[in-house]
Symmetry: D2
Subunit: 168 residues, 4 copies
């Protein structure tokens, strides 16, 4: 599977007509999320990569949190937009995530979450939605479980997670 | 230098009477920041360490951003409260930081920023203030430059960072 | 797909009889790799998670590099066994990887690489093999591309990668 | 304190004549370490930063482990040379470190360890030596404790650390 395969499979534009993990977020809401991700991208601090990314996270009560990438002279401390948005949401008491939209400066391909962000997403459930966009606003949908097959989880997590966490 | 040395040197409680890097943040504002850091701590997601931390960041126009630690089954992805607060501020367009307060569950020592957070702080200047607290609300002040002597900086950064600038 | 699905699909034990990404590493070599990963696990420095992991990486000329997890009081700096093995190989001048075996203390499930390690693997090609084992030595095979569908790659990478890198 | 201050204070070239943390590593050994760090630098994988770094770590029995930086398209996964060398040593069963030398491509200033590496160093004791070099082979010495004042340490670490660890 790659992002273009998702498109070929008819998952672009959320329709999911192949009967497999149809989008649960209404198209208007997806478009609004992508718009917010694009706005967040404007605030990216990326003097090293010059690669701007924004993300917008929809949580269970309809609130949206945004994030951009924040880089550091020590590259290993660079924080991706997706993790920024998720950690902001957690700081505000949210742990039940519905969907995240990602926007970059990629004209010709859907921007894909890196493995670290996929792992970070998986902490908050495997069945929520990830919308990867192009600059023209087109997008493909995937679920966290599709992006991180056979996800790594420590067992001890199970006993500690907050009541709002969506199970997967 | 360690945190207790700072206390011995009279820097506890912001007075700075040894003439060295006196606190620029008024004591009432420091107390309010620490209070916000303690509140943020309540939202920590730390099922692995069980070590709650909160941070409150004061930016140049008086706005305060908070953050808590957000952990992951893959420990290497755990995000500290301080970086969470800073990256949230950047997402909202702020890059000029005045002071950060840190609160943990440490009764008997001032909680100290880890090296990664010190490095992350240094990206936004070396002369702003870091207030490490105990659970009783007492605190010590340091500057980023004191916490990260001889800070690592890539030269290319120089051309990209503004005092308040939001780049695109 | 999860690790058990891989088993169900007949990929356990390298046979790949479903015609899909058959193992290229001979079974004896896989067993030797897993044995080395188990030995590396003994040297794990994991006072925080108590979760020991070892990895053994086979490079293009038959050399094997091993790694264990190395943790830190600042959890976000914890390094996984897989990345330890890969970075050791790079330090010795190798960038063309054939297969990696992972061993943990999991009796009842195959240990899975975290998203960060999958991302780190992808830097060195998408078509090399990942062997996840249980403590009894049984294993499942996957490829990096299966573990990180639609992998994130910066375009600029393409022009910079060393001559030994296997293309994917 | 910055790296130039260290030089001014007479710590360059290990002499420590100001009576403060004199070098314990003989000058010939320091030179050899720096030479190995420079060699390790040649193997850096840094297509993104183009900033090559090498490190050479001396452990308690005289063995030397080297490392280079290893970058990733997801910048947050970039691994510094220093951590690479340390994690390689741990994989080989060593946890008692004496000195580390760092070499970059900096002609006009001593290369400084980032905050993440300082934190990673502190896990293995605060009283061992860090030698930062220039391309001409000149260097300054510091101790981990000087580089990370008031180091952050989780208390639980104390009960878990291996027998070889040097106390500080």
């Amino acid at each position: 599977m790659n992002m273009e395969d998702l498109k070929v499979r008819g998952e672009i534009g959320h329709n999911g007509e192949d009967g497999r993990s149809p989008a649960r977020t209404p198209p208007d809401q997806v478009k609004a999320l992508i718009q917010k991700a694009m706005e967040a991208k404007q605030r990216a601090y990326c003097p090293y990569s010059k690669f701007r990314v924004g993300a917008a996270l929809l949580v269970h009560d309809g609130t949206v949190f945004t994030g951009c990438n924040v880089e550091n002279a020590c590259y290993g401390l660079c924080l991706c937009a997706e993790r920024n948005a998720m950690s902001t949401a957690v700081s505000e008491g949210y742990r039940s995530f519905m969907a995240i939209a990602i926007a970059g400066d990629t004209d010709d391909e859907f921007i894909s979450a890196c493995g670290s962000c996929r792992q970070f997403m998986s902490e908050f459930g495997l069945n929520w939605e990830v919308y990867s966009s192009k600059t023209d606003g087109s997008y493909v949908k995937s679920d966290v479980s599709e992006l991180l097959p056979g996800a790594f989880e420590l067992k001890l997590k199970k006993n500690n997670i907050g009541s709002h966490i969506q199970e997967s």
